[in-house]
Symmetry: D2
């Protein structure tokens, strides 16, 4: 921490979603970002604590627009973000976007997966894909960071080291289990308590919107020519928070368990928030923190590498990663204002 | 139902586990099996309803041993079952065993996976593996039925049709998610409410006891010479009941979605308890019933077949399947005394 | 069961709510009522199993109106029920109404508590309040039965014996805890999984709609002149089903624990579905059954009677009670087609 | 914060219970207490993070005994605490005890409620009952603080203002609902996931150990001569954390809703962690924070005061309150190192 530095005025756009509320909680105590504005469409004019009593004594009122902040965290739905973000940039602000609006480099994927033409396709080239562990060197110069989705964060942290090092064939399956807060506060019968409680189901088989994002980030990594073959199956499990991703790939010939372990140690040995573990991780270990646990294991008989990752979808999968990126954008310690211990049990 | 037929006197051994209690609930109203005895080690002498108030008005008292029954449902832990079952058979009784004690044909698998030499290995040849949908023809003559585990039931019903018909390569991944009742009433920190609630985790990676059972039943099926390559990863999700198995395999060349659908329709079109569905199934659909839902889907881009199955681990995965087998042993309608509607929500 | 009796054609109106679905499940196997019609507004034309896969193999299609049934179970919201029920009666059908539309005898309570003038106030005198245990003698002649709400059922079964016998002063507190299915399938932020999970709260303090119903049924009972003083506080607890009501009253002078126990034994000794217990009951004991457990206990030091009751809000608190009443309307055994064992665990 | 002050070396005794782990999480970042020791019986020698991965990067190893700390947080079971605490005091340390071992002033209550003679009864006079909001003035001089239980904290914060001000008669009912972490990590069938999930029940009716503690703290308050008549009924609801206490008392003659509100505003207007609310509070608002929400409401018709309180049983009901007390013991800001925002959702 550099003494005497002015605090950066910061805003949260759409502070009423689950990701937005977590941003407020962390930013309220951030030593270098000063949370001065939070916007909300329907709740403008209300105090933050009247809408979210859990925020205790936070002294802020929802407004309609960002006016004074240098750094803006955008927690809008993706299409709304594609419209607002260019304006914020044009005003000279730096933007950390939590939506999918700027994650994909190829504009043609937006009509296909999201159903609309991207209104600011030129920014797709500029936006830094903010998986903090991989983007460290690019973040200090970034104007626009596109934070990865919760599922991609879990999948990429689990699989990227093995693919990059050529330990596995570029043919992977990601079977992910998510708590329900990942779907946000929008009402739907699938999120109705009596329907979702005591239930587990798969959804979006063969075509979840997070697939192209995972594909984009994994496709270039493997040192072989073959195109990546990816299957991603998300599931809903009856809990509020947490993602567990169980990832499967076939080992390349001759790769040993020792090589796997060494590769992951090199990838994450210095990471503040990614922790290798020696038994299968529990999502409960991550509740309320920015931690991601990774457990790579070689199944000798099938010659498969199985990598299990666990994280809190609203933190390392959203708000925590956003702040981690913002810290790096400003040359700060990566973990400033972020919890490194989970709330247990 | 044959008029005038005497009711078969039936017993449940170890009626104090979760599977045992469900057996009691169903057998209490079975029109052809007359539940006359239920044993329990520590609770002998107590009435069933004093131990399990949910059983309402059931008029039975736990005893130490089976004495008068012709048909015996054994709900003991596997090693205890391997000792008791030969005695029951020697007394001339027919046995439906819910444990793993007689599921594996190869005796050498017991020391390796269960940690003991099988004391009645000769019975392993005789025991019918009681996946009712596949064992129908063998059950009428059976003395000893070894009911499959809850995970194998979900995996086998999902994958067997595709493997048997050669629609997929013999290289499969089963990623299964289970509620916690599958682990029984035995106390452990992993089943402690505050640990298991709001948590998802994998366990037994690369070596769960149900693997050899799934392997045994799938290995012979494929019409190709290659040995089966199987990865089975069980997970615990925070709910009491239900198993969801998401199964992955690569399609054989030239196999279309239509072929897949037709194959599954032929396999289960007449099944009373296995239902194909056109959207991903929910475990909630199965709560309290003997139903298993199956959803086969072709992922065109990756050329994979994904099959999702859902069932109630304590019913189709245990007690319900046991009664279904017993019905078939006595030439009765398969669904006698078994619920075909789930308790929703 | 009387041999040769024709089965009574029966209908469920609005079979798409949680209470309605449970009616379908029970009526599908009822030996004397033949479920021939089920209506639904938005789902008319669809098969029952396409909307509710849990109903397995039920062979019915939602229709818009009741046409052929003699007995009609109405599972509409209350205001809609007040309009439809008079028409059904005018057509000569017998009606079991699960809504609050005909529960209150005093028409002036409807504008106050439900916000509308009752369109068929004359029927309020005729309607039998269908708490089956108390209404047995009136049900055989009934054209219209108004089934009690889930909270009132729990409160009345707990408190009525003590008040009627003058064991307590007419000054009672009912602190009730309910699972979320009691609020139905209608979406609201309070029922959104991530909001309701891991949360407990009170609501409707000092003015829940079920208060006047409880008041009406308890007010006349006490042998003293004093008016009843009632406080009823409902709570939501994070589970799908179940109500636990903890009821408090001050013992009348000289009343002993023995007198209390004897009074409750006399009240419920013969009841098929109400069971006294000697330790605090669990809602889990009741899941899926029509049972209600009652635990009366004298707290010597405070001279209070505490009575705890537990039931499944969708069964004894709704659909099960409705069928129990219908059985009595037709002179059948009270428990015909109704489960007396719960689904445990 | 006083510049240049040395940090106080602090220890946690029995850091492996749920309360202990939360102490570790908070103390790891406390600016004035330096966590240097943590003991555990069975886990001595292991690193904290190997036992509790959620603690991320905490660099501590469990030891057998406290050796160097000035301030000791004791999170032992009560009887063990009564033996250790006198030794710690004799060594000149200051002690914050989270157990019930020093909460009751009257030694004769220990044999009756806890089953043993208190081995250090003389300390019962000295120990400060650490409900921080009431004990502020006594804490700076305290050697030994006995932190209240989670239930008493919820009950006392709710009822004490009304009793002290004579707003209600000294005749109160506390109906409390608790998540399961309150029972700790000790295994029992009641805490077994499949038993506790989807279940609500009362327990300890007429004789829970927290009753005498609530009685002791409320008994002296009312300005009338009548002895306090207290009924306390704890319940378990299926969630990990949170306590909701619904408290009932009869208003004294002439007391208005305005008087009630004004009394509570005066009692808690300046409190950092106690917040009055204008709608019934949710336990979810408190998860992970040291907040307690209080909602007093007058039910006009019954002339009752109903006060609902909500808190996180492991924080304001245990570890958070302990640190709040310790802050006050050392003249620090009350909220140092304590979260004032909850983890939502």
């Amino acid at each position: 921490m550099r003494q005497g530095q002015r605090r950066i005025p910061a805003a949260v756009v759409n502070g009423t979603g689950y990701g937005g509320v977590e941003l407020l909680r962390f930013l309220a105590h951030h030593p270098f970002f000063e949370l001065i504005e939070v916007t909300a469409r329907s709740e403008a004019g209300k105090t933050v604590t009247s809408v979210f009593p859990s925020l205790g004594t936070m002294d802020l009122t929802f407004t309609a627009e960002v006016e004074r902040s240098e750094l803006v965290f955008v927690a809008l739905p993706d299409q709304a973000a594609t419209i607002l973000v260019p304006e914020l940039l044009a005003d000279g602000r730096r933007v950390v976007d939590l939506s999918a609006g700027f994650r994909l480099h190829d504009p043609s994927l937006y009509p296909r997966w999201y159903g609309y033409e991207h209104p600011a396709a030129v920014l797709l080239e500029e936006a830094i894909y903010g998986l903090a562990e991989w983007a460290r060197s690019q973040l200090p110069a970034a104007r626009l960071v596109a934070c990865p989705g919760c599922y991609p964060t879990a999948a990429l942290l689990a699989l990227a080291p093995a693919l990059t090092a050529g330990l596995v064939l570029p043919d992977v399956i990601v079977d992910a289990k998510s708590g329900l807060s990942g779907a946000g506060r929008k009402l739907s019968i699938d999120m109705h308590y009596s329907e979702a409680n005591e239930d587990t189901s798969a959804y979006g088989i063969g075509g979840h919107r997070h697939s192209p994002e995972i594909h984009q980030e994994l496709a270039g990594r493997a040192p072989v020519e073959e195109p990546l073959r990816l299957t991603f199956t998300p599931h809903l499990v009856p809990m509020t928070r947490g993602i567990l991703a169980t990832c499967y790939a076939t080992l390349a010939p001759g790769v040993s368990a020792e090589t796997v372990n060494e590769t992951y140690r090199q990838a994450y040995g210095d990471a503040l928030f990614v922790r290798l573990c020696s038994s299968p991780p529990h999502t409960k270990w991550t509740l309320g923190s920015n931690l991601c646990f990774i457990y790579p294991v070689v199944e000798a008989e099938s010659r498969r590498l199985i990598v299990v990752s666990a994280l809190d979808n609203l933190i390392k999968g959203a708000s925590g990663q956003a702040i981690q990126c913002a810290n790096l954008m400003y040359g700060l310690a990566e973990d400033l204002g972020l919890p490194r211990e989970g709330v247990y049990p």
